[in-house]
Symmetry: none
Subunit: 225 residues, 2 copies
């Protein structure tokens, strides 16, 4: 169980290292945000304990950056005063849990085990394919900076494609994912909706994100067209 501790308070960091190692964790320590980010990128941790207040890059940004780079390592955020830190905000940044200082060590361990056990869940938050952004939770889509309105079916289909960027997906796969596993209508419907999608996310922007592979299926270009 590998853990990265990012905290600038040297004494606290040290006692965390000792304590966690006694609990059987393998611990790395960084004393500022830059180092923390670097270590997090280079290694594969089971969890990261991240202080919010840091010299250089603060914990908030570190977390945000990792998530933006598709790194979903579980993060336990440490916050100094509960007043100025909004829990919701913390979790929204992409942290998996938070703890308010001062905290008791057993609680930290318990929480750490909990977030690590849950593991790096892949986040549904936002799919990015080139300059195409799909947010399944909010059911919103952007091409670059402009938002695009899609109907339920259109969205469902784009979301499916966006989950397989650069891959060829057959008509059958699309039918099963977007319609039903035992869909037996006219497969033509897929072509119709591909067209609708192209009219909304490609044509107005003079781009070509959805490619046709004759006899094989469709492919969403991973560079977004």
């Amino acid at each position: 169980m590998r853990v990265l501790v990012v905290d600038d308070e040297v004494r606290l960091a040290r006692s965390l290292r000792v304590g966690l190692e006694a609990e059987g964790f393998a611990v790395d320590v960084a004393n500022d945000g830059t180092d923390g980010l670097w270590l997090a990128r280079e290694n594969d941790y089971d969890a990261i304990v991240l202080d919010l207040m840091l010299p250089g890059i603060n914990g908030y940004k570190v977390c945000e950056t990792l998530r933006a780079e598709q790194d979903w390592t579980p993060i336990l955020m440490l916050t100094a005063k509960d007043g100025e830190w909004d829990q919701v905000e913390g979790l929204d940044t992409g942290a998996d849990d938070y703890l308010t200082k001062p905290f008791s060590f057993p609680v930290l361990v318990a929480r750490l085990r909990a977030v690590a056990r849950r593991g790096a869940r892949e986040r549904p938050t936002e799919l990015r394919v080139g300059d195409l952004r799909v947010d399944p939770a909010a059911r919103r889509v952007w091409r670059g900076e402009t938002e695009v309105e899609l109907t339920a079916r259109e969205f469902s289909m784009l979301a499916f494609l966006a989950r397989h960027p650069g891959d060829v997906v057959s008509k059958r796969q699309i039918l099963e994912a977007v319609w039903d596993v035992d869909f037996d209508g006219d497969p033509n419907i897929v072509e119709v909706y591909v067209r609708h999608l192209r009219n909304k996310i490609d044509r107005p922007f003079g781009r070509q994100a959805i490619e046709t592979l004759r006899g094989a299926g469709y492919r969403l270009r991973s560079d977004g067209g």
Copy 2:
């Protein structure tokens, strides 16, 4: 140290009772939400372990009800699948901590001690979505500076929406959260209440906080409209 365990899984409840008593807790057990609520009202516990999925009144509602009655007994929420339960939502309902099943017993004990030690906290939580303010504890709502009067159902529904600002919530989700997990009546009821809400928090202010997404559900604009 008195603890109330509310869980419908009889075997789990029993082993929790045995384990916690071995740890020195005095344990009461309820097997459904109704009993749990009743026991919580009648007695003065140091903490409550509350399962989310319950027959009768679900854990979500139990928690909400207690808080509405100004009962701040620390609550540790147990959630079945981490997928369908949003941690933020759990904490905002008024729970003090949460634990995802399956969990290890020592972790449960540690967390339980932690929330109990912290004690009955005074309630801060207020949900803010744009200029819309929802106070789940006090059951009050403001649009800007003017307070809005809502009925129980209306409030429950708005609170749910406010816990997912900017996200689409399906009619099914709303039914499960606001009504019951196994609600089987006419989903039309959701539309009716959406209308009521709009009449109270949107129309008088010439705003549009609740959006309709055909075939998908509803969305509370995160800027409040």
